[in-house]
């Protein structure tokens, strides 16, 4: 196409020379070629027929230049990433799109919010469809982000030089949960109202500690946190507007900033992680295929600020592929498949909308959104530990992982090879046994409060099933570290334990917890009152 347009341009040039040099005629000719010249000015090159042109196509495009011009073959393999990062991003994009559409009709007022949900459901053209997509994409994004984190962990993608990006990833994970949770209140239905009421109680849970220390009267950090979250003592108009502002402006903005940093760091930290072995192999191939003459000369200028011995793009050229079209097709296909799945979900399943929020009619049990149900189970043991202590320790612990485990072997390989696989499997079994065991024990025999009714709460705060699990998992991790003489194995062990505990607790709280947070085999066993 590029050549065609240049041919055209030559034609026009010759026309100008042939004909009388009238400016009007020139204008006419220019007008004729305007579509073409506009396109040329927009895209700046024709269809990339050569690899160099393909590289340039990526390099000169504002949207694509976040991608390298060439990309490692392994990075495009589906088993390397499972596409989870891209899916998360696509879902975020989809959420922003549908979210803006919903904002047009949504009214963040306790009087009008629920009614506006009904309007969206019943009279706004495709309103229900948009809301369904928004709801399912939100759940999907939380799930994908968790899985993406697990993928990054199991392929050791948090290791140098990507430590900081792992931290950014953790921040994005927390932001995702925060976005989902703030969105939960907006429909102003019973489900939302009581879930957020529970959330605000958790925010107040540090009172458990201040009470125990006897300083609540002077320093009530719990009440302060709750006030900050709700703007009042109860979930009401103030809370709704706060959640709304957080959900539609503050958190998405912060999210975008951290997403930008995340992607920037991926590029600057040398692209996706891949096994060292693959690189060694490519190192040898490099000489066989000659120097990487095809890489755009310009990138070398950036080398000084990029970490590592040589720029990542330069290495193992033989195992790289042109981003255009390979990666673009892969990303495009992933994006459209995600869209398609979400459209299907939005078409088939209606997002729930329960009764209008009613502070006088408590839901029993009032359950948090699914991704917080594991925490809610822990909260039922101790509000502070379940709601603040343990999640805080876990998040901070996960952030510290790349700084504590600095081994560089087996990076980019799932589970770091067969030993890691064995450790992960063992840890998974260990976690299942521990979590199920502790749950069974607690249900059958109760906990300290049942045995010693007058025990001070501070004891339960620090000794409860949740903290016991935490301690047991930590010990297990130390044991594995000791035994395998590898911090990576220890990290694998504790991460696997956390992941399994999260999954089991989430399942348990979803299925087996009923009114008054009692244990029931199934919902059909729930008492009516």
């Amino acid at each position: 196409m590029g050549t065609e347009s240049s041919k055209m341009a030559r034609q026009v040039e010759s026309d100008r020379q042939d004909a009388s040099p009238g400016a009007l005629r020139l204008l006419w000719c220019n007008l004729l070629v305007t579509p073409r010249s506009f396109r040329d000015s927009l895209i700046r090159h024709g269809r990339p027929t050569s690899e160099r042109a393909a590289s340039q196509a990526v390099f000169t495009n504002f949207f694509l230049h976040i991608l390298p011009t060439r990309i490692h073959r392994d990075s495009l393999r589906i088993r390397t990433t499972l596409g989870l990062g891209v899916i998360s991003l696509v879902l975020f994009f989809l959420l922003s799109l549908t979210g803006v559409a919903l904002m047009i009709y949504y009214k963040p007022s306790t009087d009008l919010a629920y009614d506006s949900m009904k309007e969206i459901q019943y009279v706004v053209p495709t309103g229900r469809f948009m809301r369904n997509i928004h709801r399912w994409a939100a759940h999907g994004m939380v799930l994908c982000v968790i899985l993406h984190m697990a993928r990054a962990f199991y392929t050791a993608a948090y290791k140098s030089p990507r430590q900081f990006n792992w931290v950014v990833g953790m921040i994005l994970f927390v932001l995702t949960l925060a976005l989902s949770f703030t969105g939960y209140l907006l429909p102003w239905d019973q489900l939302a109202y009581w879930a957020v009421t529970i959330g605000s109680e958790i925010a107040q849970s540090p009172r458990e500690i201040t009470d125990a220390l006897g300083i609540t009267a002077w320093f009530d950090i719990g009440a302060y946190q709750k006030q900050l979250l709700l703007g009042a003592n109860h979930v009401g108009q103030e809370a709704l507007i706060r959640f709304y502002v957080l959900h539609v402006i503050v958190l998405p903005f912060v999210m975008c900033v951290f997403l930008a940093i995340h992607f920037w760091r991926i590029r600057k930290d040398g692209g996706l992680t891949r096994p060292a072995g693959a690189e060694a192999c490519s190192e040898s191939e490099k000489f066989r295929n000659g120097p990487p003459a095809l890489a755009p000369a310009k990138t070398y200028g950036l080398m000084a600020v990029v970490r590592g011995r040589t720029p990542a793009v330069d290495r193992s050229m033989a195992n790289t592929m042109a981003t255009y079209p390979n990666a673009l097709y892969a990303i495009g296909a992933l994006c459209m498949v995600t869209f398609f799945v979400m459209l299907c979900l939005g078409h088939s399943f209606n997002a729930p909308l329960t009764e209008h929020a009613n502070p006088l009619v408590p839901e029993n049990p009032a359950k948090a959104p699914w991704y917080f149900l594991g925490l809610q189970e822990l909260v039922s043991y101790s509000a502070f530990m379940g709601g603040v202590g343990i999640p805080g320790i876990v998040v901070v612990g996960l952030m510290l992982v790349p700084y504590l485990d600095r081994e560089q072997e087996e990076v980019g390989v799932w589970f770091g090879g067969s030993r890691g696989r064995r450790v992960s499997l063992a840890s998974a079994l260990f976690a299942i046994v521990v979590v199920v065991g502790i749950l069974t024990f607690t249900i059958n025999y109760g906990w300290l409060r049942d045995w010693y009714p007058n025990i001070p709460q501070i004891v339960i705060t620090f000794v409860n099933p949740g903290t016991v699990m935490l301690v047991v998992f930590s010990l297990w991790s130390f044991f594995i570290t000791q035994k395998t003489n590898s911090t990576r194995m220890g990290a694998l062990a504790i991460f696997t334990c956390f992941l399994l505990a999260f999954a089991i607790l989430t399942y348990f709280a979803t299925v087996h917890r009923g009114p008054n947070w009692g244990f029931y085999w199934s919902k059909s066993d729930w008492p009516v009152h």
Partner: protein, 788 residues
């Protein structure tokens, strides 16, 4: 690039293409559904077609034009004050179009003239019908979806929402609601339940202060076991008390004795004199005295059943009561007759001998006399009395009782999931819950699975105190042994005595059974289901359900929606007449303004209706107005000054100066002869008697009572003003009367009135020569001037 790369890109290309097409297809589908497949569109198209047909039928061009191009769109009513949007009219488009009365739903026009009084733009649809006004799909709009607590009300149930604006007991066009509200008052629901502003003015049951001296213990036992056995139409509901509980409660009640009665000599009277007094006093007006061939009770239902009363009450009590009923029951409907001591003895003798079941008496004598209650039983009885909320209907001592039942102030808007349905196979909706609860209160409970150790459970049950046992049998439909056991366990579990696996919570090693018995007896009735069975008829239960559903937290947003309250006038003057009324309880049968019962005539405008002299004679010796009706007003033997006072008072006070204005102005033009012709031509004799001929449907116009020398004729009794008014529009005076409205002209009415007034009994006129027709044109205020 090697071949495998090429292959992969190719595969991705295809994936991209397919998923893109898929997305496009789904988006197109959504757009298509949004714009074409909504069911309301079809309804509106159908409506438009029918409009066209109608227009074609009317044949006028302009109409045809106007009905064409009927816009297909979402239609809605905005109710700013109610904060509602009703889109019901999107499907129910024909709701205000009278041409669509016969068209099937959803296009049907609204039935009745409700919309005339409740314009759709002011009240919308869901204010009355409930449902989800914002929805545009049938299921959702009718509220038959999860998370919508107010589904469409069907049939009579729609009357429940009238209560948002109509606060009077009687609501026009809502017979079921009115009936239900009346029943709430009659059954004394407010005795046990808080129900907003509904409160019992008078407790539904009798005072029990001297119950021990009144009834026999054996009767009381039977009554408490099942009151419906003795008095099927009585208000006392069936509590399903087990023998232990009956024993305890009866023992407690029998301690309330009255020394004055107990120390009376055994009354002896004359049976035959008593029979006469009985007939004169017209006891049958208020009391059931016999059963007819079909075992249907004969007699009034105002007072208690007299059948087997001889087995029930103590004759000493009866005599005391007949002398002065009001000292026992200040709120009774029983009038105080002027019985002398001897008359009371005679009447009591008659009653005790006439209505006694000797077989029963013999049978009872065979049974051992129930033992005096032990102190423990009395204590249990006292507790049961309080727990069951007996005090809600019965005064005992002067204690204030707090409601024992749940607060029903907002029962109509309680979320369905907060109602206990138990295992009952009824649809989970509020009306179904209320109806089932009213019809059989115990059916709405979980059937409990019996835990393993049967002996263990039996050991517990048999050692429980009656009070604890009582609460056990209450929660269960039929109280079978198994169910009782199960109940014991579940109650123990609920009380925290047993844990989830039915083990004693603190795991102390001691006899579980003994310990449980001790604990359950201590807490006696843990949380018994107290609601008794009123054995309501289906329609009564339905009416009550509707009245209960009307107790909702949704009310009119502003005053101007509310129907004006008709002030309830309680007739209770402090003057002499008021004193007499309280003595003779006129309002037990008559109505004055809004007070009283409509068993006999409404006395509100009696002064404008009847002649004062006639009234005085009638009060002295009442008689039946209709030949076929033997029941009449009781003969009270009023002292002369009392009957005079009553006649004066009634003719002075109970008047309407507006009544029969036409007669006063036009009586000069009235011609009795023309009236007579009219009387014959209109066929009045078909229903009314004149000199022994005519029908028995209406009252006789020339009453002749053998034992009453001055039987009065219509001209003696009624006033011209009233007759005139009556002839013009009978239903205006007495809404339920079957007297036809003959649509007489003014002149015809005047003539007929003059004729009827001329029907005077000559004997009666002679008897009272002082009596004269008032002068023509005389104003009625002077008209009723007492002569004495």
């Amino acid at each position: 690039m090697d071949n495998s790369d090429e292959y992969r890109v190719g595969w991705l290309k295809w994936l991209l293409l397919v998923s893109s097409i898929g997305c496009l297809a789904l988006l197109s589908l959504a757009a298509f559904q949004e714009n074409f497949t909504a069911s309301w569109r079809a309804h509106q198209v159908e409506y438009s077609k029918r409009l066209d047909q109608l227009a074609r039928a009317t044949e006028t061009k302009t109409q045809r034009k106007s009905s064409a191009n009927y816009p297909i769109k979402v239609r809605q009513v905005f109710l700013d004050e109610w904060k509602r949007v009703d889109r019901c009219v999107t499907c129910h488009v024909g709701i205000e179009n009278p041409d669509f009365a016969e068209v099937p739903q959803p296009l049907t026009a609204h039935s009745g003239d409700i919309l005339k009084h409740h314009p759709a733009d002011k009240f919308g649809c869901t204010i009355c019908h409930q449902g989800q006004g914002r929805a545009t799909e049938k299921q959702a709009a009718h509220g038959h979806v999860p998370f919508w607590d107010k589904p469409l009300l069907v049939g009579d149930f729609v009357q429940a929402t009238c209560a948002k604006c109509h606060h009077d007991e009687q609501v026009p066009q809502a017979p079921a609601l009115s009936h239900g509200r009346q029943l709430i008052g009659q059954l004394g629901c407010a005795g046990c339940h808080k129900m907003g502003d509904i409160a019992n003015r008078v407790k539904a049951g009798p005072q029990l202060d001297s119950i021990g001296s009144k009834v026999s213990r054996k009767w009381l036992d039977k009554w408490l076991t099942n009151p419906k056995d003795y008095l099927p139409q009585g208000k006392m509901p069936y509590y399903g008390l087990n023998p232990g509980a009956v024993d305890a409660l009866a023992s407690y009640l029998m301690t309330f004795r009255n020394g004055a009665i107990d120390h009376r000599p055994k009354p002896e009277g004359d049976y035959d004199t008593g029979a006469n007094i009985y007939r004169e006093s017209q006891c049958i007006v208020c009391h059931v005295t016999k059963l007819d061939y079909n075992d249907n009770p004969v007699g009034g239902q105002i007072g208690p059943n007299l059948l087997e009363i001889g087995n029930k009450v103590n004759s000493r009590w009866l005599v005391t009561f007949l002398k002065n009923p009001h000292s026992f029951y200040p709120n009774t409907k029983m009038p105080a007759f002027h019985f002398s001591d001897q008359e009371a003895l005679d009447l009591s003798q008659y009653v005790m001998e006439e209505w006694i079941d000797y077989d029963l008496l013999d049978a009872e004598e065979q049974e051992p006399e129930p033992a005096q209650g032990t102190a423990e039983q009395i204590g249990q009885g006292k507790r049961l009395f309080a727990e069951l909320g007996c005090g809600g209907c019965h005064d005992l001592g002067h204690k204030t009782v707090k409601p024992t039942g749940p607060d029903l102030t907002f029962i109509g808007s309680t979320p369905v999931h907060q109602l206990t349905f138990g295992d009952a196979k009824v649809p989970h909706t509020t009306p179904d819950f209320l109806y089932t609860k009213l019809k059989s209160p115990k059916s709405l409970h979980h059937k409990f699975k019996l835990p393993t150790e049967g002996d263990f459970a039996a050991a517990i049950w048999n050692n429980l105190s009656p009070a604890a046992q009582f609460s056990g049998s209450q929660a269960l439909p039929d109280g079978s042994e198994q169910d009782r056991m199960a109940w014991v366990f579940v109650q123990a579990q609920r009380a925290g005595l047993l844990d989830a696996s039915l083990k004693i919570a603190d795991g102390v090693a001691r006899s579980q059974a003994a310990w449980l018995v001790e604990e359950l007896n201590k807490t006696a009735a843990l949380n018994p289901l107290k609601m008794p069975n009123f054995q309501l008829l289906d329609e009564d239960a339905k009416a009550l359900t509707i009245a209960l559903m009307s107790l909702s937290d949704v009310s009119a947003p502003s005053k101007h929606f509310e129907a004006p309250r008709r002030p309830k006038m309680v007739f209770n003057p402090k003057d002499k007449f008021g004193k007499l009324e309280r003595h003779y309880r006129c309002l037990s049968c008559h109505q004055i303004r809004d007070s009283g019962e409509l068993l006999a005539s409404d006395l509100t405008y009696e002064g404008s209706r009847v002649d004062r002299e006639w009234l005085e004679h009638y009060l002295d010796k009442p008689y039946s107005m209709r030949r076929m009706l033997t029941i009449a007003m009781p003969i009270f033997h009023f002292p002369k000054e009392e009957s005079r006072l009553m006649a004066d008072y009634i003719s002075y006070v109970f008047v309407d100066s507006e009544m029969g204005k036409g007669w006063r102005l036009g009586r000069a033009q009235a011609d009795p002869e023309r009236g007579k012709t009219l009387f014959e031509s209109k066929g009045c004799l078909a229903c009314h008697q004149l000199h022994g001929t005519g029908g028995d449907v209406g009252p006789s116009l020339t009453t002749q009572v053998p034992e009453f020398p001055h039987g009065t004729w219509v001209g003696d009794k009624l006033k011209g003003e009233w007759i005139y008014q009556w002839l013009k529009d009978p239903q205006a005076l007495l809404p339920d009367t079957i007297e036809p409205n003959l649509s007489l002209s003014d002149q015809e009415s005047l003539d007929l009135t003059a004729y009827l007034l001329s029907l005077k009994n000559p004997e009666y006129q002679q008897l009272d020569p002082a009596h004269e027709e008032p002068e023509a044109g005389e104003v009625p205020e002077e008209h009723g001037e007492p002569e004495s």
